[in-house]
């Protein structure tokens, strides 16, 4: 009997990786950043990505989870993902240690629309732990080779408390720069030395975000309640729905538009998204 070998590239096969570093990001210890190194030289080149894409993290024996890529394409030699401890796979991943072997499959999905954003003002609005692909975007835009491609960069980022902000060292470093305007905020500060904003993201957006114009795009990522109250603020500031860019999450398995569960109307969040403009979302059922 002939045993057929799989000649076409198998999109379900993960690249083997080793966990190189694990950083606990938040005071509740529910968010950890995993830095992965590819086991096979050459796989890193095949995993060439853009900010806004995601990958399936494959924990052998447990399953896969779709997670946004937190490292930037400008960072070489590794890829990083920040994972919230929620279900079976993510909880197990949180118990793994440096040196453990697992897999990553991707990059998957579209990205933020970098061609459209070139030469424009970019306003990044993030809340809670939905800051991962936004971190990727900021690091990428601030790279000396890229910074001149964009006009003003504003970042509004909020979490419940100072200890729940991701990437705190980097946030502090960006605060010190003059080529990015940071507006960090917390719902409530338990830290007397807190020197940034206090208030919910929609309120800070209203105060700090620039007025809309044809050359200004907002990228918004966060929990549904933040998006719900931020959108009217952007409307008031005059942002057109084709100038509001959002990244969605849905339950996913294949990540390549085949398994059938993550669709919103005819669009698959995994393959046609996860990034959509609000104008696109207005034309689809809101099943996310």
């Amino acid at each position: 009997m002939i045993k057929g070998d799989i000649k076409v590239q198998n999109p379900y096969m993960p690249y083997p990786v080793r966990i190189d570093e694990i950083i606990t990001e938040t005071e509740d210890r529910n968010l950890k950043t995993f830095k992965f190194v590819f086991l096979n030289p050459g796989d890193e080149d095949k995993f060439s990505y853009k900010a806004g894409q995601f990958a399936e993290l494959s924990v052998t024996g447990k399953g896969e989870i779709p997670i946004g890529i937190a490292s930037s394409p400008t960072e070489k030699g590794f890829v990083k993902f920040t994972v919230n401890k929620v279900g079976l796979v993510s909880s197990y991943l949180h118990s793994m240690k440096v040196g453990d072997i697992m897999g990553i499959r991707g990059p998957l999905g579209n990205s933020y629309p970098w061609d459209t954003l070139e030469g424009k003002n970019v306003v990044i609005i993030g809340g809670g732990f939905a800051f991962t692909t936004l971190r990727s975007s900021i690091v990428s835009m601030l790279d000396p080779a890229n910074r001149k491609k964009f006009k003003d960069i504003n970042v509004i980022y909020g979490a419940r408390t100072p200890g729940m902000l991701l990437y705190r060292d980097e946030l502090a470093a960006w605060e010190r720069r003059d080529d990015i305007k940071m507006h960090i905020t917390v719902d409530a500060a338990n830290d007397l030395d807190w020197k940034y904003n206090v208030g919910f993201v929609p309120a800070i957006t209203e105060k700090k975000a620039p007025q809309a114009d044809a050359d200004t795009y907002a990228i918004i990522c966060g929990p549904p309640v933040m998006i719900k109250f931020t959108q009217p603020v952007l409307d008031k500031l005059g942002y057109g729905h084709d100038h509001i860019i959002m990244s969605l999450e849905n339950r996913m398995k294949c990540g390549i538009g085949m398994c059938g569960r993550c669709n919103i109307g005819k669009e698959f969040v995994c393959k046609d998204g996860p990034v959509f403009t609000l104008a696109q979302l207005n034309a689809t059922p809101r099943e996310y």
Partner: protein
């Protein structure tokens, strides 16, 4: 077009020869209904059936399929690294598939064989299979294939069309794959000029027996969000128990899950059929479920088949009119009725009901 005449006395001998070169599946009677199974040597397909209870999709797309194997034993040099499972893509043939079910594979192919990604399991299994269709002389009362893009003698997706002309079969070789199989079977008698005429008249007769129709011509003109908000979904989904029978029987339902299954220090990663009828299909890790009610789920199934698919591929509906979901639904939900409601939906006419 070559038409071969197969005397019924040469039938068993030909099938025996086919089995030397192909793994052959065909319909067999199991208690009260027919289903497809791999035929043993000497076993003949039973063509005396209306249609099988389950669709033959599992011949190309098994309900459960192992993709990878792995070791969890850290002493193993390749532990925790996925390895391709052994696969057998030697030639397969399915004899007696109904034309509707064969054309269903072409609709599903658009999902698994795309310009961006190819599902290697589905694609290779499909390519290694030769489809010998049994034309329907007697369609069921629930068949609506002729208005769903197929038909009792439809040749799309078939390599050979077999028409039962009483004392003999006429085999129309549609593709080279079909030609090869006929040669393998030793069925070589070229039919006389009357054969094509006979097939044509059987076809006309069969098509005339199909009294069940759907209208699909307006579906692509409807606004997705308006159809989604239509009030009739409440009524359509009211009796549904989300059993998922429709999705398991359907030749064009392709949704699947990916699961790791461990046994001791090793395991397999597999694809399993899944169903949009189940809440677990879409639930987020947080507990939020974007399709949290049965109305959401029933609407997803019909909108996918009759609207999203139509728009995505700029084609007909993702349904071939086999009627299985109608026959087996425990609460009598009828896709023909839903299709007509969608096709004729006018949100303005319903404006008073929404208020």
């Amino acid at each position: 077009m070559k038409v071969i005449k197969i005397d019924k006395k040469d039938w068993a001998g030909g099938i025996d020869k086919i089995q030397d070169a192909y793994r052959l599946s065909g319909p067999v009677r199991e208690e009260k209904s027919h289903n497809f199974k791999v035929l043993g040597k000497g076993e003949l397909p039973d063509l005396n059936f209306l249609n099988t209870r389950l669709s033959p999709k599992s011949i190309v797309y098994p309900q459960s399929e192992i993709m990878f194997e792995y070791s969890l034993d850290e002493k193993d040099p390749d532990h925790h690294i996925m390895k391709d499972a052994a696969k057998d893509y030697s030639p397969k043939a399915v004899l007696g598939i109904r034309p509707c079910d064969a054309s269903a594979f072409l609709l599903v192919k658009r999902n698994f064989d795309t310009p961006d990604y190819k599902d290697p399991y589905w694609v290779r299994a499909y390519e290694s299979t030769t489809f010998i269709g049994a034309a329907c002389n007697n369609p069921c009362s629930t068949c609506f294939c002729t208005t769903a893009g197929s038909g009792p003698f439809n040749e799309d997706g078939l390599d050979i069309l077999l028409a039962d002309a009483g004392e003999c079969y006429y085999a129309k070789a549609i593709t080279e794959k079909g030609d090869n199989l006929l040669n393998t079977a030793g069925w070589k008698t070229i039919a006389d000029g009357g054969a094509l005429k006979k097939i044509e008249s059987l076809k006309k007769e069969a098509e005339a027996k199909i009294s069940s129709l759907v209208s699909t011509d307006q579906l692509n003109n409807k606004k997705t969000t308006e159809l989604y908000e239509a009030p009739f979904w409440e009524d359509v989904s009211f009796s549904c128990i989300n059993c998922g029978t429709c999705t398991y029987l359907c030749p064009t339902c392709w949704c699947f899950d990916i699961q790791d299954e461990n046994s001791g220090c090793s395991g397999v990663r597999m694809k399993n059929w899944d169903s949009c009828m189940f809440p677990l299909f879409t639930i987020h890790g947080t507990g939020h479920n974007p399709r949290g009610t049965k109305l959401h789920r029933v609407r997803q199934r019909f909108m996918h088949k009759l609207k999203y698919y139509v728009d995505k591929y700029e084609s007909g509906i993702q349904c071939v009119g086999c009627g299985r979901c109608i026959r087996s639904c425990p609460v009598n939900i009828d896709i023909r009725r839903v299709c007509d409601m969608m096709n004729s939906y006018d949100p303005k006419a319903c404006a008073c009901a929404v208020k």
